[in-house]
Amino acid sequence: MAIATYKKLESLSNFFYNDGLEKAGVRDLSGAIDSLQQSLKMDKNNIDARNLLGLIYYEIGEVVAALSEWVISKNLRPEDNIADEYMDMVRNSPAKLENINQTIKKFNIALNYCHQDSLDLAVIQLKKVLTINPGFIKAHILLALLYLKGGNYDRVKVEAGKVLKLDTGNLTARRYLKEAENMIAPGEGGKLASDTSSSKNDDIIRYNSGNEMIIQPRKQSAFTKSGSIWGIVLGMILGIAAACFLILPQRIESINSNTKEKIANISEESDSKSAKIAEYERQIQNLKTENDKLTKEIGGYEGGDNTSISSASNSLMKAIGIYLNDPSDIDGMVQAMDKVNIDSIKRSSYPDFYALYDALIEKVGPKLAAPYLKDGVDAYKKKDYDTAIQKLNKAKQYDGENNVNILFNLANSYYEKENKDAKDIAAAKELYKKIVDDFPNSQSAKTAKTKLAEINSSGD
């Protein structure tokens, strides 16, 4: 491409840039935008034009468009570019940027409401937008349009005025302003042109008094109009619905919450009682164990075969009494002593009882043993070994330490017993051993040795 053509294009671009700059100087922002866009169409590398365009976009509330121009500008000329400063300005105030983004979103929502014919909601939304970002020209213009649609021409004038203050060359604002002025221009009979068209529909009277517009609603009786009654009915229905949807769920939730709390309390109480029951059961078990132990101990005191220590004492006393009265009454003493089960009374527990018992046995033991020995030997001879063992054990109790015959016959009874078991053999072996140890020179000791040898050899 010829350099002359390129120079020409560059010159045109500069011309438009200068035009844009001039317009921006007098706040004709719309005109400036047009000129700067033209400038960039001529030469996309006109950095000043692009940066200024971004600045104007920023001024009218189009932050994203502004940022995109500056980013492109920075891309085209990375060094010595004022776009850096502009972008830093935005970057250093993220809260403000977020705020502006929120207003943009709200504006888009308002626009959506307009398309859905929810004009009241759109007006509310746009008012919010303009409270946050009063320089957002597009929002002002849309609000003016909505006022125009709603017949609020004074407000249209206000909004259009604000726009023209920010952007003197805004054609849309001028058109809306003109439209509003036309609508509020005095018509026939002092009434507004707009009123002549709208009064038929909305039943209100408007007129100008000097510079003020007076809007006078027609007086109506609320009860004569069916619309009002319907309004009251609708209000009641809405009230009931609100009660159902707002109060009732809260109440139900409150009841549920109370119930849950009660259940939790009961559960806690139940847990605590379960723990107590477990504790009591444990205590009962301990007490039972202790009771069993004590019962056993008492049993020990009383004697294993239901002969209590007291009855044993009584029997011993009776035997001693017989001995004291008549030492020759052996039968009487035998009968009395027969009731004393000495094996079930611990020596260590009743030392006094044993002292008395031993004293009596020392005096009359051999005499007491004699009838038992006789009966035992007789039974042994008859091969009635069980009776023999019983009788001879009794004899051993009274005179077992001194009378080898008792020990020998008892040992033999155990050894020769029919169906003898290991316990009987052990008892026989012990008795034979005692005979050998305590009475080594007796005839019985020799036999006992032989028997012991037999037992040992059979055991091997």
């Binding site: 491409m1 053509t5 390129y6 294009l9 045109l12 671009s13 960039l40 169409k41 001529m42 030469d43 996309k44 590398n45 509330g61 189009e62 932050v63 994203v64 468009a65 940022l67 995109s68 980013v71 492109i72 940027l97 983004n101 943009i104 979103k105 504006f107 888009n108 626009l111 307009c114 398309h115 597009k138 213009i141 849309l142 349009l145 125009l148 649609k149 849309t172 058109r175 809306y176 439209e179």
Partner: protein
């Protein structure tokens, strides 16, 4: 009298920050010199094709 619906159509949604990247990438940056270069290129191609056909 303005037509509300027609006026409303002129309003486009404002660009949101989230869309900035797409806008930058998709912006048409062609200027007059690009258009002229393209025109010259097309004319040259046309001339060559005409020459070949002859």
């Amino acid at each position: 009298m303005l037509n509300f619906e027609e006026e409303l159509k002129k309003f486009k949604p404002s660009l949101e920050i989230e869309d900035a990247e797409d806008i930058i990438y998709n912006q048409d940056l062609d200027d007059m010199s690009d258009v002229l270069i393209k025109l010259l290129k097309d004319a040259k191609q046309e001339a060559e094709s005409t020459k070949r056909s002859k």
